[in-house]
Amino acid sequence: MTTTVATVKGGEDGTDSPYALSHLDALESEAVHIFREVAGEFERPVILFSGGKDSIVMLHLALKAFAPAPVPFTLLHVDTGHNFPEVIEYRDRTVEKHNLRLHVASVQDYIDRGVLKERPDGTRNPLQTVPLTEKIQGEKFDAVFGGGRRDEEKARAKERVFSLRDEFSQWDPRRQRPELWNLYNGRHAPGEHVRVFPLSNWTELDVWQYIAREGIELPQIYFAHERDVFARNGMWLTAGEWGGPKDGETVEKRLIRYRTVGDMSCTGAVDSAAVTLEQVIAEIAASRLTERGATRADDKLSEAAMEDRKREGYF
């Protein structure tokens, strides 16, 4: 698919320029510009790739940005040890298909070595920060692409496209650089790095529409399927060796799908019969819950949970 002049709908009185881009073309063009800026200005960029839909869209955009040449970045996955097997399979298949290099930072390794301690609730998402930041320092990555979107959370609404992190990977919202026009400032001192968010201006619906338009393959857990789940804190969690269900929690088979992909201990499923992209899009357009509100336990830990984790170096 490409831009076609005729299909762009303008204002009601037809006053838009025939050369106005559709919103998806505008967002795509902006994201490609961001990828190319990083390729032009940084020594060792890396794309955070989890096998979730946002990082899948990021990789797709990077492939388009440098075509017909290969993507000039490596990938990095922070593996919590509690990932969905379908997602790990997708990750490895994608890396091979595009002949990419994948770095893995493993939370399980840190736990096995006694550096990190398992939390009583079994949630491993907050444990990702240390392996992530140590990998960034160890590999001397100077630009780290994340799939974060500003529509996800109110702390993220303040995030810059190029977000400077200090040598401890910390985010300081008060010291952010103003971003003017499309003149991104990637200057950083040795040891510092820049988090880059090419999907900053996308919403969940944009991501899904783009996936549909471009025909991008996703892990099957994004579509309705039957699964053994149990209820905890108002969410359907996948039963598994990671630590659920506990006493008093009962497993049942339900028709569900996932809106986000993350650690199994804190990523909830939603009841859904949507098996096609069109059905998923229709379901999201009608939903009264945000993606994170519906499916993420870790954001509910406190009012500023996301901000606090971002300050520490979380993506």
């Binding site: 490409t2 831009t3 299909t7 709908k9 303008g10 204002g11 009601e12 838009d16 320029s17 050369y19 106005a20 881009l21 559709s22 919103h23 998806l24 073309d25 505008a26 063009s29 490609v32 510009h33 190319r36 800026e37 390729a39 032009g40 388009k64 940005a65 440098f66 017909p68 040449a69 500003r150 109110k154 993220r156 609404a157 303040k158 919202p173 952010q176 650089r177 103003p178 003017l180 026009w181 003149l183 400032n185 200057r187 001192a189 900053s200 201006n201 619906l205 529409q209 549909a212 338009r213 069109e278 899009i281 357009a285 009608a286 939903s287 945000t290 509100g293 009012e303 500023a304 901000e307």
Partner: protein, 444 residues
């Protein structure tokens, strides 16, 4: 509002706009209502706001908590930075740069306005045009935002009287036109009561114009194609060097202004070498023509030396290159900008060394008077600056091209973004009234 269908959503355009308003003019309420009525505030977000409001002992949900995202903001009840919000209607997608209105945050309004195609300036109907309103109009004019909306809010508190609105609209329009703001639309609203925000007001029969949202949905998205110069800053050279593509050499970049065609003669600046476009790839697909703001890869007939930072332009329409730039700037860093300051200047995709040669004047936004030779510019100051660059740059006037007429200054020591710059004259002179027939059609 009815549910948006997939077909409707995929064909919409994108409008980037910014809000500006003084403290207590009801900006949060307006933004909250837009987000709420366009289904962009969802149940769990509202629930979080209600929960937080109760924790603070407030009876009603405080909608400002929707937009004040950071801990310090909630604790101190202030807004410290630009936040970006997203909402959609069946007609259009919107990116809103939500900027605080305090005097000391001029830099935030400049940041928000730099990417905006429309700026909303709020006034309180009881107070009319105040100093802060004039400041906001001046910034919109300086940043050359194509459309300005004057939202006269709190009409419910002046009994919805037409003469109150008309007087404010007239005073503002006269002022803004003098600054060269190309288009002004004044709308009487009550953000709190919902008059003319999304639905037409039953209380203001005398108003025949669009509601606020209707205007946002229908204002034409301008694309700098008319009377403008085609510009492609080279971001990255794509060279696969594979067995199938041993000689592929493409110049990748986002078209900053105008359009390019296959077969067109082009010049590469600053070297001045010329060639011809043999192909344009639009993200992997060959096209005959591409335009602003598409990200493309251009192939040229000759194997000439081009790298990141160069600018590809039509041979018949090349800008002059210069090492001496005079510009209007907004200083955005906490440390002052002084004469003699050695800086980096980023223009398009090129970053060069530069030195601040002179600061001829500082602008007082309240009355637009010029303070000569202020010696330095501090945070949020707007002034004129002369900069000498280490290498020649092909700069346009900001009036002609917001992308290739703008630059930022960077501190070479710690990388801080110091200053936002706009090349050329500060304010546009009022547009001469043109014969409508002249503007019909696209001439290329």
């Amino acid at each position: 509002m009815s549910t948006i269908t997939t077909e409707e959503l995929s064909a919409t355009t994108l409008l980037r706009f910014a809000t500006a308003g003084s403290v207590d003019d009801g900006k949060s309420t307006l933004v909250g209502r837009l987000l709420h009525d366009s289904k962009s505030v969802l149940a769990d977000q509202l629930e979080a706001v209600e929960h937080a409001s109760r924790n603070r002992g407030q009876e009603a949900p405080d909608l400002a908590l929707l937009t004040d995202g950071l801990r310090a903001e909630r604790e101190q009840g202030i807004t410290i930075d630009v936040a970006y919000r997203y909402f959609a209607t069946p007609r259009r997608r919107f990116i809103l740069a939500d900027t605080p209105g305090h005097v000391q945050y001029t830099r935030n309004m400049v940041t928000g306005a730099s990417t905006a195609e429309l700026t909303v300036i709020l006034v309180d109907a009881r107070n009319g045009v105040v100093e802060q309103t004039r400041r906001h109009a001046a910034i919109a004019a300086l940043l050359r935002v194509p459309h300005v909306v004057l939202a006269v809010n709190k009409m419910d508190l002046v009994d919805y009287q037409e003469p109150v609105f008309a007087a404010i609209a007239e005073e503002f329009t006269a002022y803004a036109l003098e600054l060269g703001v190309p288009e002004i639309t004044a709308i009487p609203i009550s953000a709190l009561a919902g008059d003319n925000v999304v639905d037409p007001s039953a209380n203001m029969d005398w108003y025949g114009g669009p509601t606020f949202l209707e205007h946002l949905e229908t204002v034409p998205v301008t694309h700098d194609l008319r009377h403008c110069h085609a510009r492609l800053p080279v971001q990255y050279v794509i060279r696969p060097q594979t067995a199938e593509l041993p000689d592929y050499r493409g110049y990748a970049g986002q078209i900053a202004a105008g359009s390019f065609r296959v077969g067109e003669s082009v010049t590469v600046l600053p070297s001045g070498r010329t060639s011809k476009i043999t192909g344009i790839d639009l993200l992997g697909e060959p096209v005959d023509i591409a335009w602003t703001t598409q990200s493309v890869t251009v192939l040229l007939e000759d194997d000439i030396d081009i790298s990141r930072g160069d600018l590809i332009v039509p041979t018949k329409d090349a800008p002059p290159t210069t090492q001496d730039i005079e510009a209007t700037v907004c200083h955005v860093a906490d440390a002052p900008l002084t004469v003699g300051h050695r800086v980096l200047l980023k223009h398009g995709t090129r970053t060069v060394k530069a030195i601040v040669k002179d600061i001829p004047s500082r602008l007082t936004l309240d009355d637009l008077s010029l303070h000569p030779h202020p010696g330095q510019l501090v945070a949020n100051d707007i002034g004129r600056v002369k900069v000498r660059t280490a290498e020649p740059l092909p700069v346009d006037s900001y009036a002609d091209s917001r992308r290739t007429g703008s630059f930022i200054l960077i501190d070479p020591n710690d990388g801080t973004t110091l200053t936002a710059g706009m090349v050329g004259e500060s304010f546009a002179s009022p547009e001469p009234v043109k014969d409508k027939a002249e503007d019909d059609g696209w001439d290329f």
